[in-house]
Amino acid sequence: MVASVVVVGGGIAGVSTVGALRDGGFQGDLTLIDAGEFPYDRPPLSKDYLAGSTEIKDIALQTPQWYDDNRVRMVTEKTVAALRPGVGAVELGDGTTVSADRVVLAMGGRACRPPIPGSDSTRVHVLRTADDADRLGATLVPGARLLIVGAGLIGAEVASTAGGLGCEVVLADPVWPPLSAAFSSDVAAWLHGMHEKRGVTTVNSAVKAFKDAAGGISATFAGDSEAQSFDAALLAVGMAAETALAEAAGLRVDRGIVVDARQVTSNPAVLAVGDAATRGAAGLSVNRSEHWEAARHDGQRAAAAILGIAPPADTAPWFWTDRHGVHVEVVGALSNTDQYWQRGSVGEPPFSVFAVRDGLVVGAVSVGDSTAVRAARRLIDRGIPVDPAQLIDPTTDLRKLVRGRPTEGMK
């Protein structure tokens, strides 16, 4: 029987793990170790928190009372120096040890800093933590010139936030349109096109060098010889999983900590969840799903594995993003088919696009149409066959497709 669990890392994956353990009836000792003052939610770091319209205490993942009520021993502002699975313990940076029958690694990752010359300047930021957001946010004064490298989800959200604060934003990405695999190409092109309409300058190029300049930072784009000057730059080019502790402990690592379908690593006493974990299968490394809800589900699966109970049912992956005042949601995958069906018109929210394969919905993206994505998720999860003509008919109530009922009167 597992009598004690230590969770390392207080992001959404770690906090979900401890919550799911208690919800599942775990009665043993439960410890959450986090480097920060308290666990907070990360999605606002590129939005309201960066804009200064919400404070760190407002984005706490849970209240202090919740940790007390759930008998979670909080070890905050502490880092773990080593895993000692052989003796059932983790060793903290200050040399003390915490014993545990099971360790759950939930340490996420670090923002990538590609080796662009000059990118070690203090004016070149990344965004992963509240401290990063504080440093970046301090530069976002009206009129400040900000260069964002990478127009993925984080880069686009920061462009929107910084533009809203009155900054002059240049958003650079060598790929056009960015995120077409995630959103499907038409929707990706429209979303990327919103930047220019909202006053953000988009540059279809990579940055080849930075250089500190008087009172700013200059950047040279690939193919250009002339440098442009900015007050600050942000590298928003993805993350690298935090795997050092796992590697030092001899766990299998392949760009992430390799776990099985129950989140168990190559050492049965150690589990991994969230952005740092990758589900490998038969030597194949599966891409990590670096999204908020995926991390939450990892935590629930890990808790079920520790408790020896059935894991929650699998569900299609889902994420949201907000930019320039629109709320975008994606469920499933939009890249594994060539059949796309539009409900409404792309570019005129609310609208949605369904990806269909062999008569089944495999993915959907919606802008301002929450019901479409929630219906699509259930159509995917339940394997309900659809007639695409019905999906795109604006008079079809999508909820009724899910319930497998024809449109009926409100009886």
């Binding site: 979900s16 939610d41 993942l61 919740w66 889902w318 929450s370 019901t371 409100m410």
Partner: protein
Amino acid sequence: MKYGIRVAAVDDIPKGEGISIDRSVTGTDDDIALLRDDDGCVWALNNTCTHAEASLAEGWVEDGYVECPLHSSKFCLKTGAVQGLPATRDAVAHRVELRDGDVYLFPRQGS
């Protein structure tokens, strides 16, 4: 309030959906969402999600829960208890009665 406030006809609310009743009618601090489950039962919760600015009346109602249209936190229709992050606070639940095809609301004061 012995008889409650008549706020809607049951047939105004399709199964699996919700409608919002304005605070000027309910006399509460927030609008109130009337949410109708698949089984036809009607429940009432404060309309604004406890996490962010979203209307629960626009959420997905199914199997005793409403799912927020913005970030998908779920709330128990009967008690308002939050079932999943990102919301951490329960929604305020109000009592409803169905009489002769109409929905009568008994708003909880101070909520």
